[in-house]
């Protein structure tokens, strides 16, 4: 340990020119604006407007004085949990097939299909879903073309529509992180399990899932955190039902122009998410 630390200290001098651009960029682009936001969250009004302002804790107090914010936060956490679960349910089997079943060109082709959502604009993606899900939209039309009876699903502006949109946006993260851990698992471990009399399901439960836990955890963290704060999908696909913590924060910035409140709500969310991750990480690490 001590040796490693000494070596990394010696290497730091050489590494500095390589690290500097990244850290400079992070400082300018993330750290400074974020610091400004922390500053704003303790103010009565924005200094930019020229109106008088003072320091206050009122923005944070607002969260606790109105039960609406807590309700919305819980709804957003539930949304995050549900989307993460769906991403596991859909993404893990896909990652398994990619890592363990497909080989060569077919693997590359399927991989491309998984990555494709990343390359398309988020807004385009959401409006595409709107076209599919709305009443008389592509989904309804397709079902009516196949089914003998008239059907009208009309998922648009509903909670399921929000889930569908978010899962679609975030499932590639789960596929990629799980794929990386799954393909690192030696096939001979699966064979060893089966040679010892374990069925495929027992091998999955006792060997493969425990060994791919780091990928599941990483994927879950990558999905859960942004989904809890998401506002685009809830607003467009959820309509009136799509009011979540993230959309309220967005409102403070773009509609109400109450930046201090928006900033305070953001930092409360950040704190809650950090607490959840801190509580969950030892449990998950033990599982992994």
């Amino acid at each position: 340990m001590a040796e490693g630390a000494a070596a990394s200290r010696g290497g730091l001098g050489k590494a500095l020119p390589l690290l500097a651009p990244a850290y400079l960029w992070l400082t300018v682009a993330i750290f400074l604006p974020l610091s400004a936001m922390v500053f704003f969250s303790f103010m009565t009004d924005l200094p930019l407007t020229g109106k008088p302002w003072a320091f206050t804790l009122g923005n944070y107090a607002a969260f606790f004085s109105q039960s609406l914010y807590l309700t919305l936060l819980l709804a957003s956490l539930r949304l995050g949990l549900e989307v993460t679960l769906w991403c596991v349910v859909i993404g893990y089997p896909a990652a398994y097939v990619l890592a363990k079943v497909l080989k060569g060109r077919s693997r590359e082709a399927i991989f491309l299909l998984v990555i494709l959502p990343f390359w398309s604009n988020g807004l385009v993606r959401i409006f595409s879903w709107a076209m599919v899900l709305r009443e008389g939209g592509i989904l309804d039309a397709a079902l009516n073309a196949v089914l003998p009876f008239k059907i009208n699903i009309d998922l648009m502006y509903s909670y399921p529509a929000v889930i569908i949109g978010l899962v679609h946006s975030y499932v590639p993260y789960m596929v990629l992180t799980c794929y990386l851990t799954l393909q690192a698992i030696d096939d001979s471990l699966i064979e060893a399990g089966r040679s010892l009399g374990a069925s495929r399901l027992q091998v999955l439960k006792r060997v493969i899932i425990p060994l791919s836990m780091p990928g599941l955890v990483a994927g879950a963290a990558l999905i859960f955190v942004p989904v809890v704060g998401s506002f685009m999908e809830p607003r467009i696909l959820g309509g009136r039902t799509g009011t979540f913590y993230g959309t309220v924060i967005e409102d403070q910035f773009v509609a109400v122009f109450n930046w201090p409140l928006g900033a305070a709500l953001s930092f409360i969310l950040l704190a809650v998410v950090l607490v959840i991750l801190a509580v969950a990480s030892p449990v998950l690490r033990r599982a992994a």
Binding site: A192, S195, L196, G197
Partner: protein, 354 residues
């Protein structure tokens, strides 16, 4: 415990015939080596016996029960993999317990059996360790304990010692043999190391290009190889090619070589003779001329001193022969020296060309 019978098994992958009509009997309690160069089909054959892959045609039975379409988890076999394949997320004891635990054995039974298996491989105190905390040899022992704790009908080993260094490999050969004797399990192991096959097994099967070339006890295959391939793959051999004469062959330059062992071949047929390098005596003088003894003149082109023996490469008529001489304290021959080689017909194996 049970014997294994492989009958007329063929398996192709695309156009490649990995196994071509292989039949071989593994008697109950025996220790068998499947020996062959890479791509010879030995691992494919082991995987058919294990049940990871099914033959296109042919039958496989374990203990008289037909299993060629039974999946691996139902065959009650034990397998040791080349890279050990220990579960990295489990302790040594949990690795060994895996087979019993998926079977649903009681916890107390599992604990007793696991301890017994770990004691058998002399790792009784290391049950709490994780695989990555063990040395290569220890991992190999854990893999073995894990494979035998379920009391399988047959133990399959896929190049089990390939990843170990030389000294450890010799230790493990002895150890593996001891354990196999102790539990008396039918054991089939795949190797490309001919020395390992010779020292460990009761019988050896040599494979080449998906076919079984020869099968039998090590001494028989070594002393009576039935093909040039068997002669040169298992041990070293000097090969002479010529026409059969009835009691040997005649080389292209007219030299006759008498063979006392091997096939009876019709005169005139293409044939070979194989002679082991340690069966040839090398001398500088002509000595007594006994017509029964094969005699060739040559010149030492190279000498390799290896402590307990020396290897001479002797050139004659465009062929280089290999002669191994035990170090008895006699003077070594110099490179470039003219020598006479002698060996008896009983040391010469006649092999049909092919």
């Amino acid at each position: 415990m049970a014997g294994v019978t492989v009958s007329n098994v063929s398996r192709s992958f695309g156009a490649h015939k990995a196994l071509d009509d292989v039949s071989i009997d593994f008697a109950d309690g025996g220790f068998y080596a499947l020996l062959g160069p890479s791509g010879s089909g030995k691992t494919t054959l082991l995987r058919q016996i294990a049940g990871f892959d099914f033959p296109d045609t042919g039958r496989i039975s374990i203990g008289g029960e037909s299993v060629e379409r039974v999946p691996v988890e139902k065959r009650r076999i034990g397998m040791v993999f080349q890279n050990y394949a220990l579960f990295p997320n489990m302790s040594v004891a949990d690795n060994v317990a895996f087979g019993l635990s998926v079977r649903g054995e009681a916890k107390t039974v599992i604990a007793t059996e696991v301890q017994r298996a770990l004691d058998l491989v002399q790792l009784g105190k290391l049950g709490g360790r994780k695989p990555h905390q063990l040395s290569g040899g220890q991992r190999q022992r854990v893999a073995l304990a894990r494979a035998i704790v379920t009391k399988p009908r047959v133990l399959l080993l896929d190049e089990p010692l390939g990843a170990l260094d030389k000294a450890l490999r010799v230790d493990m050969q002895i150890e593996l043999k001891r354990i196999q004797r102790e539990i008396g399990i039918t054991t089939i192991f795949v190797t490309h190391d001919q020395e390992e096959a010779l020292t460990m097994s009761d019988r050896i099967g040599i494979l080449r290009d998906g076919r079984l070339v020869q099968e039998g006890p090590p001494e028989e295959i070594y002393d009576r190889p039935k093909s040039e391939f068997a002669a040169t793959f298992l041990g070293d051999a000097n090969i002479f090619r010529g026409d059969a004469t009835g009691n040997g062959i005649r080389l292209a330059d007219g030299t006759a070589i008498a063979a006392g062992v091997g096939d009876r071949l019709a005169a005139g047929a293409k044939a070979s003779c194989a002679v082991r390098p340690e069966r040839i005596r090398i001398a500088t003088d002509a000595g007594t001329t006994d017509s029964n003894i094969n005699t060739l003149k040559g010149q030492v082109s190279k000498r390799i001193f290896a402590g307990n023996n020396s290897t001479y490469f002797v050139d004659r008529a465009g062929q280089t022969l290999k002669v191994i001489v035990q170090n008895t304290g006699a003077d070594l021959l110099a490179e470039g020296q003219d020598v006479v080689l002698r060996w008896s017909p009983e040391s010469t194996v006649l092999i049909a060309a092919g």
